[in-house]
């Protein structure tokens, strides 16, 4: 009898636990429910995500009352494809680089931007490259050379990629971006090999990889996400590298002795987009419109030194901050624009140059 009672107690306990769990599960789902006033926004990672949150997400919620579900993750062209093709779109807004934007448009993965809700004066200040039918520019940012000042004091540091490649003259653990997303240091490799900045495209991919061969032994690790490159400098794992300017800018703000070189920087643009079939499209359009207002973009640039796409934003940016932005005229003229159109072009065999270069990168890594 005693034993039976024990078993029954155990079973009852398990059943109760199960009920409790089910209760826990049902409750939050009901709370979220089919609430109309929400928008799911992917805000990236690290400092970029923090800046997005503070400059756009929180004020947007405050102004509109629309609940923003902020997802701290990145959108890749692959995830977009998975979502859209499986008709399982849970996301309303994401930001993607122009490199992926062009492919996404070609594949019809994006909703059209509703420019009718924009204020005319605001819209007129947004630059043309940023006003696209399926996306609005979020920010300009650059891949730049960054140094640890203690190891590379002013005057004793490389200023070109050719010098960066010279590990004898400028020794030190290095980092470059991995090519897994097609955003590797291919242009930098060509520049290091002597290709002039205005002759980079169409890209000589073989030559780029041959040049990467030379730097490979000196690269401690190849970063994938922006925060990773930043972390390598923060932890002093590397003393010199090719990383996003804003990430270094934020480390400088924290007092880390770092510097960047704008010469031969690689400038690029991210777009706010709405994936095809997004569940809360109206709110998504509202969010993007909000996030491209001059005042908001000004606040964003103060949080992380990336360039606004709404030129009126400079009215809200402190002069000191402006000098740190990749689109500041003195910085701009030292850099080049990555030619995303070349990446979107079809190469031999019908695959785009972007796909081909990713495959090539994957093969190269295991050599």
């Amino acid at each position: 009898m005693r034993r039976q009672a024990g078993t029954l107690t155990l079973l009852a306990g398990v059943a109760l636990l199960g009920l409790a769990i089910v209760g826990l599960l049902v409750a939050p789902e009901r709370a979220v429910g089919q609430d109309k006033g929400k928008v799911v926004v992917q805000i990236g990672g690290g400092d970029w995500a923090d800046a997005n949150f503070e400059a756009y997400v929180a004020p947007f919620e405050k102004e509109t009352g629309i609940k923003v579900v902020a997802v701290r993750d990145w959108m890749s062209i692959a995830k977009l494809k998975l979502m859209v093709e499986s008709k399982k779109v849970e996301l309303d807004v994401a930001d993607i680089p122009r490199l992926h934007y062009l492919s996404a448009v070609k594949a019809n993965y994006l909703e059209k931007i509703d420019y009718s809700i924009y204020n005319k004066t605001e819209l007129s200040k947004i630059d043309d490259l940023s006003k696209q039918p399926y996306g609005v520019g979020a920010a300009y940012f650059s891949y730049v050379m960054a140094f640890d000042n203690e190891k590379f004091p002013a005057g004793k540091r490389p200023t070109t990629w050719a010098e960066f490649w010279d590990a004898k003259k400028f020794p030190g653990p290095r980092t470059l971006r991995a090519g897994v997303y097609g955003t590797g240091a291919f242009e930098e490799a060509l520049l290091a090999d002597g290709v002039p900045m205005d002759k980079l495209y169409p890209m000589d991919v073989d030559r780029a990889f041959k040049s990467l061969d030379k730097i490979r032994p000196h690269v401690t690790t190849w970063w994938k996400e922006g925060a990773e490159g930043q972390q390598l400098f923060a932890d002093k794992v590397v003393t010199i590298g090719d990383v996003f300017n804003g990430r270094i800018g934020n480390l400088q703000k924290k007092g880390m002795p770092l510097d960047i070189e704008w010469n031969q920087g690689k400038l690029q643009l991210d777009y706010w987009v709405v994936p095809k079939g997004a569940p809360n499209q109206q709110n998504a359009q509202k969010f993007i419109e909000f996030a491209t207002r001059a005042k908001r973009q000004g606040a964003f640039s103060e949080l992380i030194p990336y360039g606004p796409t709404n030129m009126a934003a400079f009215e809200y940016i402190k002069p000191d901050t402006a000098k740190q932005l990749p689109t500041y005229p003195a910085n701009l003229k030292k850099q080049f624009h990555r030619n995303e159109d070349w990446y979107a072009e079809a190469g031999p065999g019908g695959k785009s140059n972007l796909e081909l270069i990713i495959e090539r990168w994957n093969r190269w890594t295991v050599q």
Partner: protein, 641 residues
Amino acid sequence: MDGPVVSLPSSRAGAPRPGRHSPLHALREAAATRRRGTVGFLVLPAVVFLLVFYAFPLFRLLLVSVEAPRWSLTHYADFFTEPAYLRILTRTFRVSLTVTLCCLILGYPTAYVLSRVSGRRRRFLLLLVIVPYLTSFLVRTYAWMVLLGPKGIINSLLLKGGIIDAPLKLLYSAVGVHVGMVHVLLPLMILPLYSVMVGIDRTLPRAAQTLGAGPLRTFVRVFLPLSLPGVRSGCVLVFLISLGFYITPAMLGGLRDSMIAMLIESQITQLVNWGFAAATAVVLLAVTLGGFSLAGRVSGMTLLVASEAAGQTVAATTWDETAGAGQTAGRPWMPRLMHLATVSVLGRRLDAVVSARRRRRWARLQGREARGEGRGRTALDLFAGAVFFFLILPTFVVVPLSLSAGDFLAFPPPGWSLKWYASYFGQPPWLHATLLSFQVAVVTMLASTVLGTLAAYGVLRGRLRRRTLVVSLMISPIIVPPIVIGVAIYGLLAQWNLIGHFLGLVIGHAIGSIAYVMVIVSATLAGFDRSLERAAMSLGAGPLLTFRRVTFPLIRAGVLSGAVFAFIHSFDEVIITMFINGVHVQTLPLKMWEDIRNQIDPTIAAVSSMLILLPVAWLIVLEVAHGLNRATAHAGATDQA
């Protein structure tokens, strides 16, 4: 084909016994046989679940890999004609092989020492193996990042000590991958080895020595062959699980250290090349299953090789020495010296009959044995001590880091504070992820414990056709690489709108959890005296009553261990989850994995430190379960008296 299953005690069930020929008895036996047929149906829920959510998706994966309606082998051709991919395949093999060998070299002497000590010390040393085994592998891998980094603890200490002038390249290199993988997999080598060694009849090596064999010869000719089943189980388990490794090489390796699972992941998340990814996954699956059946043929066993290892592993974790130990069960372990004393007493008794010459030689032999043992043992103990240190300590480096006052990971920390714990508790995403992981794990645990226990009972007590197939289906998720399962079930769950859904996560996790429950409960079921069940049945108890009153109380500890493993599997799962989590559903391991890649701030060290406490909680659960079981057995004994 039914070898392993038939070799379990169930095969003896139907054998006719003398003195049982009364007609009434025959009737009862017949009824019992009929019932066994019905008992077999208990496997159905688990089998149906696994057919739908596991076997069918794998089959579809195969179809995708050959471009099903068009039928083309281009993806396979692409794979096998591209030197880079073949290089990844051979590297995967090489790394797995090296890791297996390292685990064996480190694990064998350690398991030997473990099997030789007794009582409290054995318990303590087992803890040193089991705690890392139960600790989240993400935490363990993360700890190695902290240890091996250019500014990590090892390099800092070496630099400070003046042993090196420049940091060694440990992290982002093959060294890191190997160290991390060996650390993660070593318990899976030690535990099966231990459970076999502890069951080896001690009198056999002793007999060899008294017959004049030296310690080395005794080891090579007697102990080693007897321990081979453990070697085989451990090696098969470690090798096959290594093949599918993803997180550890991705975190600790450099560019060149790609393994095949990483190739599959990148094909999907970067190129959306499902066909090629599916083909690669099928190659990995084929290699794994091929290796498995090869190992099975060699040993005359099939799929139960791993299950036995895992079962015995768990028997070891519950400290149920009877399950793993066999012959040594039930009698107190005698220290080696006492055995020697017994032998020498025996020797003195023989004095009268043996010649003086023989007597002298006898004494010399014994002296040699004792001396050799002494020296060998010190070296062995030191070696094992180093291995235990390697197993347990690295994980704990995350604790001081989590208490750092600095903003970045630095060793030694610039100051002390609890701010990273505050950061964890202050961030809703961390808390939500933790809550979700607990919920998913509890539901997965409940579901898979029920399905797995029923299935284990059905397999061992019922009459099943195609038993090997059923068992293979249920146990294979332990060795099928999670990345293959993840890729396979993505499509199905997407179709059923279960991506990023709670139920989808439970389904994805239950596939593996059922396997663990099944294995552990089977081991327990096979380990207990069936005559108790038969006695109950012959006294007129139906199968349900027999199960409730006799079987369940006896296997309760096993069921609870199974439940614990089911929970851990789900709570720790990251690779399958990575594919089916959708956009804004984040489990704790996934959040950790993304944070490790994105922002390595000490919050993750705080989370890791808290996760180290979990295994301790599990051990308490297991201990209580074990205590319950002992109490039940005790109660049963007094009832009989």
